[in-house]
Symmetry: C2
Subunit: 351 residues, 2 copies
């Protein structure tokens, strides 16, 4: 928060000819040019972006990962972040889940006619802050404008590329029975932060999104534990329940989790109850699930708990031979129940 | 056209539970999973996409180019193509303009609730055909769904990466006075094909979009002429006039073009007159402008004219020391006039 305030002071909004985005800003002509030259290109300036070609040219060698995500979250600004930092962190984290460190990002906007320049500038500032925090560069981009009522303020696509850390082998085939399942922090903050702002919901909370880059902590863990880390996944859309089901489906193994081990903050739990939502299905943006060799479970957890956002991380269960393709949860009151993948839609446009 | 009909016969639409896209298809849960498993993932199947991770992992070495583009064209289907092949070709061509051969693509959809499965399937088939024609693979993707009235059927982002051809040095700094300016074919087909379908325009034409991959011909030309090719640009949004102005602005040199050398088909010219459009500002999707050393101008043109779409290619002008940052055109009736960059908006959502 402090970081973004500081950034805003250093980067006052340039004087644009218009107060809001017009169709002309998507024409590819002079208005597009002005918007980019005084706006995004200047703010996100780096040598590669400065090439101002149809693409960026750089050197890469060896094993790399590439990931893409379009962000359509509504509202665009929410407690703890906005669509700008969310879009940067989201792709950085998808790469981290591949064992890769994001290095270069592309950035593509679909702007709705009428988006105010002030809002666009705030989003650009968040993009800049998020890139600096995570050590990535925006190297190429695109801006399109659609008529009022044919979009929703702003959609952002980020696509990232970066080298895969050596001595890692993160793949679904690495998962074996006995592996420990570790969750890096408390569930459901992002989804609840966004829902708290959605039209029609009047309750007030102090819950903020958990959007943050995970590349730093993931690199540190992979450097220490190497191939003993078998799989990483971030429980975004569909939540923890969906990610665990995907792992069970794709490994054809069973998954056992213990409800009381799964960290959920009290205030988040209360908000979920009020909204009739199960935190297992609510989206997160700064969490990951690690499936690790059973012999390193405790050491991995210890290291994770030393991380500034890892205090509540926990071993929440394990991979088993029994009940293949199924996720079973031992509930707090003693019984065991099947946890299914999210069916239908719970929280549209959460990311 | 034959190609895509053949493809459709080989790939009948799978049976989906719904006739159209619902919000649940964007949830990240079971509906998303079904849509992808039976749809895009199956159709576009390849080893990298099959990793089904948060990203794709592959090897790259040396100098590569990366480019991104979001496509918001309306209508989604137009004479000669649809948003699917346009999105694949567009990014392939941006990479070709960097002297690179597209190898891997990411593919990200923003679908509007209510898009029919039949339309989505047709678009996926075009994506597959375009990828096969150009020899590229979709290796990772994303699907989001927005409510009715918050999007417009479908927006597609493609981001591509591929190796830069050796022995090339395409950069704005390479352009020098005396260089020849070559256009690869006749102007304005894409823009006019789309406009012919837009609401309220009743005239009928047989003009089809020129959307096509340029990687093959560009590779052949670069392999033959190497560093004597100084710059490549594709005149999409903003048209030829905008691209020439960008080159003049960024090189701080002048550009002279001769109107009667610029190829425009008669039917396209007629349609432009009827619509009050100047073909110099109309978007193209299968053309490029090459700025080449003056000594190879004729040989470059000869090679280009042997290409199946290059029959009408022509030397349209040259780079000059005089009138820096300005594009001057010798008109068909004798005088010279300044050609400016596109101001405002001429054809919204053309790509």
């Amino acid at each position: 928060m402090l970081e973004s305030i500081k950034m805003e002071l250093q980067c006052p909004m340039p004087k644009f000819d218009f107060d809001m985005i017009t169709l002309g800003h998507g024409s590819g002509g002079t208005l597009t040019s002005q918007l980019l030259e005084s706006g995004a290109l200047k703010l996100l300036q780096n040598d590669l972006l400065d090439q101002k070609h149809d693409g960026a040219i750089f050197n890469l060698s060896g094993k790399v990962a590439m990931s893409t995500d379009t962000f359509v979250v509504t509202p665009v600004f929410f407690p703890g972040g906005n669509i700008g930092d969310l879009a940067v962190n989201g792709t950085i984290n998808d790469l981290a889940m591949c064992g890769a460190t994001a290095k270069y990002l592309s950035l593509a906007f679909v702007l709705e006619e009428g988006l105010t320049m002030k809002e666009f500038w705030q989003i650009l500032l968040s993009i800049k802050s998020a890139c600096e925090l995570a050590g990535v560069q925006v190297v190429t981009g695109d801006t399109k404008v659609v008529e009022r009522g044919k979009g929703d303020k702003i959609f952002i696509n980020t696509t990232g590329i970066g080298p895969v850390l050596t001595k890692t082998n993160i793949a679904i085939q690495q998962v074996v029975p006995g592996d420990k399942i570790i969750l890096s922090g408390p569930l459901a903050r992002h989804g609840i932060a966004v829902m708290s702002l959605r039209q029609g919901l009047q309750f007030e909370t102090t819950i903020t999104s958990d959007t943050r880059p995970l590349n730093g902590i993931v690199s540190a863990l992979l450097n220490e534990f190497g191939e003993q880390v078998h799989l990483l996944r971030d429980p975004t859309r569909g939540g923890l329940a969906t990610v665990l089901n995907e792992i069970a489906r794709d490994t054809k193994l069973g998954i056992d989790v213990v409800q009381k081990s799964i960290p959920v903050e009290e205030e988040v739990y209360g908000a979920c109850e009020m909204l009739g939502l199960d935190p297992l299905y609510v989206a997160n943006e700064g969490l990951f699930v690690a499936i690790v060799d059973k012999n390193i479970g405790d050491d991995f957890l210890k290291k994770l708990q030393e991380w500034e956002h890892g205090e509540m991380s926990a071993i929440i269960g394990e991979v088993v031979d029994a009940h293949p393709k199924q996720v079973l949860m031992q509930s707090s009151i003693g019984g065991r129940r099947v946890v299914n993948m999210l069916a239908g839609e719970q929280l549209p446009r959460i990311c």
